[in-house]
């Protein structure tokens, strides 16, 4: 036995081991739901015991053993219950062969687990909850708090997710090579959603909440280590790091949004930026450039500009043109229009917005009038800009954005020399 360096160190170790232990237990008992509950219990036991009594010789084996014992107890109870009910013993085929603690299938297990938790059969909310619990090793209470819902609600989301996995009959094994690309995309999407959920403007609320942004980065980093050859995973990790790097600069003292063009760039996290750029530089030459790498590349171009006015907009425009060809996404079209306006002027941008009006998919979305307001302002049509900033403010469901849009309208209806117009909308 050795003492863990600190309670935080112990927690970190547990979260690292959680998916490996779960993978091993599922492999042996073939019941995701029962294994998952048992591993949670084992993690809790370790969290209580280890800081007091020191780390066991082999923490992973310890956890597997404790969890396996819980599963066996559960199976015994089940068998006894069934026996009482049907008077028939059915335990013979419930227990699979013992696992080999010596071998190292753990890395693969973690990956299989991620594929399972992010299965396309699950709703987004379920996949997020299950990934955080089964792969992230978080407790239901922690996840519930992060999403501001009661623990009972989150427990139900997790148990429904486990039921869906059971009823869909997804086997605990690596997807076939044909399935792999699509399934990996689903995993990346879930990690991206977790990151986005954590990327909130309000720093105050983060004091009591689990930092989902950091958790998403941790899980994506883990995925990147498991599949280093997948350049889109590297791209996603780079995108998260480059975005997270601006966190401190993104809001002001009253939690008000500060657009990219007006952020204090000295607050950007240099470490995260350089890690993101290194990842991206290694990934891009590998050939299969996908949307995450392109978005990361766009973010990197912004990061490389010492001042907003130094931004290499022609390069950003070129990257958005590539991205537009790759994905039929109206948000990409909108961002492309912004880059266009920065390079060729507001009239060119407004033309692209008319195209988006005809497209119709962003009808009712606040970002379309917000961007239009910005272009109108650039073109000198103050009245039109005020109108559209206010339309946008009436449509957003985000309070920081609403405040931002209303202050833009207010700034234009009452000229203020101390506040120059922004270069890009929030």
């Amino acid at each position: 036995m050795s003492a863990p360096s600190s309670e935080g160190g112990c927690e970190h170790l547990l979260r690292e081991l959680a998916p490996q232990v779960l993978g091993a237990v599922i492999r042996r008992f073939r019941d995701f739901s029962v294994a998952e509950d048992a591993v949670q219990e084992a993690l809790l036991a370790a969290a209580l015991q280890w800081p007091r009594e020191g780390l066991p010789e082999n923490p992973r084996a310890w956890l597997i053993q404790v969890a396996a014992r819980r599963v066996t107890d559960h199976i015994r109870q089940e068998v006894a219950r069934r026996r009482r009910e049907t008077e028939a013993a059915q335990e013979a085929d419930t227990v699979a062969p013992a696992f080999e603690i010596g071998s190292d299938p753990y890395q693969d297990d973690t990956l299989v687990l991620l594929f399972m938790c992010c299965h396309p059969a699950l709703s987004e909310a379920s996949a997020i909850a299950l990934t955080l619990r089964a792969v992230g090793g978080l407790t239901t209470a922690e996840i519930a708090k992060a999403f501001l819902v009661p623990e009972a609600t989150m427990a139900q989301r997790i148990s429904r997710a486990k039921q869906s996995i059971r009823s869909s009959g997804v086997p605990f094994r690596m997807p076939t090579s044909e399935e792999r690309t699509q399934r990996l995309r689903a995993v990346m999407h879930v990690l991206y959603l977790i990151f986005n959920e954590g990327y909130v403007a309000s720093a105050g609320s983060q004091l009591q909440r689990l930092d989902l942004t950091r958790e998403a980065i941790r899980l994506t980093r883990m995925l990147h280590h498991l599949v280093p050859e997948e350049s889109e995973v590297a791209g996603l990790l780079a995108l998260m790091l480059l975005t997270d790097a601006r966190r401190a600069a993104r809001t002001g003292p009253a939690q008000e949004l500060i657009p990219l063009s007006r952020q204090d760039r000295s607050l950007w996290d240099v470490g995260e930026i350089s890690e993101g750029i290194v990842l991206l530089t290694a990934a891009l030459p590998k050939g299969s450039v996908g949307p995450y790498q392109l978005q990361a590349a766009i973010s990197a171009v912004h990061s490389e500009a010492a001042r907003a006015e130094d931004t290499d907009w022609p390069q950003i425009l070129a990257l958005y043109e590539l991205l537009k060809r790759m994905s039929d996404n109206p948000m990409v079209m909108l961002n492309h229009a912004i880059a266009m306006a920065m390079v060729r002027g507001p009239a060119a941008g407004l033309e692209l917005l008319d195209e988006l009006d005809r497209d119709g998919r962003l009808a009712g979305h606040h970002r379309l009038p917000a961007v239009r307001a910005h272009f109108l302002e650039m073109a000198g049509d103050t009245e039109g800009a005020v109108t559209h900033y206010r339309i946008a403010a009436g449509r957003t469901a985000s309070q920081p954005e609403q405040v931002y849009l209303l202050t833009q309208a207010a700034r234009l209806s009452k000229p203020d020399v101390d506040n120059p117009p922004p270069h890009v909308p929030a």
């Binding site: 989150m154 990327y199 403007a201 978005q295 469901a397 985000s398 309070q399 929030a426």
Partner: protein
């Protein structure tokens, strides 16, 4: 996305409810309990609260020197908030579906009520999608 479903009614409506039979009141209460259970099981429940009687309602404004000035005997026709439900759902359509269920709870003699439910999206601290 989170939505708040607001149930409103008048003092007259509340008086009518108070005159329901025991069986009807029990049935309605059981319906509300079941709905909360269903929403928890579907992973959508966030919070609910019934509000105290409209007779106790006060509208407060700040007066001279910051003291509260209350206003409180309201006409029979005034709409009061009776209670709310907060749900975390995947789409606005799902919020409307839950609101419709809430609106159609059992009334006197097992008839279906048609309470007006105001559905409002709750604003979030989140900002638009990345980047």
């Amino acid at each position: 996305m989170k939505y708040i479903l607001l149930m409103t009614g008048t003092k007259t409506g509340v008086d009518t409810y108070r005159a329901w039979s025991e069986k009807d009141i029990r049935a309605h209460f059981a319906f509300l309990t079941r709905l909360s259970q269903e929403l928890t099981e579907s992973g959508e429940f966030v919070a609910t609260a019934p509000l105290g009687p409209p007779e106790q309602a006060k509208v407060v404004r700040v007066g001279q020197g910051g003291a509260p000035v209350t206003d409180g005997v309201f006409p029979e026709s005034k709409e009061f908030l009776l209670g709310y439900w907060i749900v975390d759902v995947e789409s606005p359509e799902r919020a409307y579906e839950i609101a419709a269920k809430l609106s159609g709870g059992p009334g006197p003699g097992g008839t279906r009520l048609s309470m007006p439910i105001e559905v409002r999206q709750m604003m979030t601290p989140h900002t638009a999608e990345l980047p």
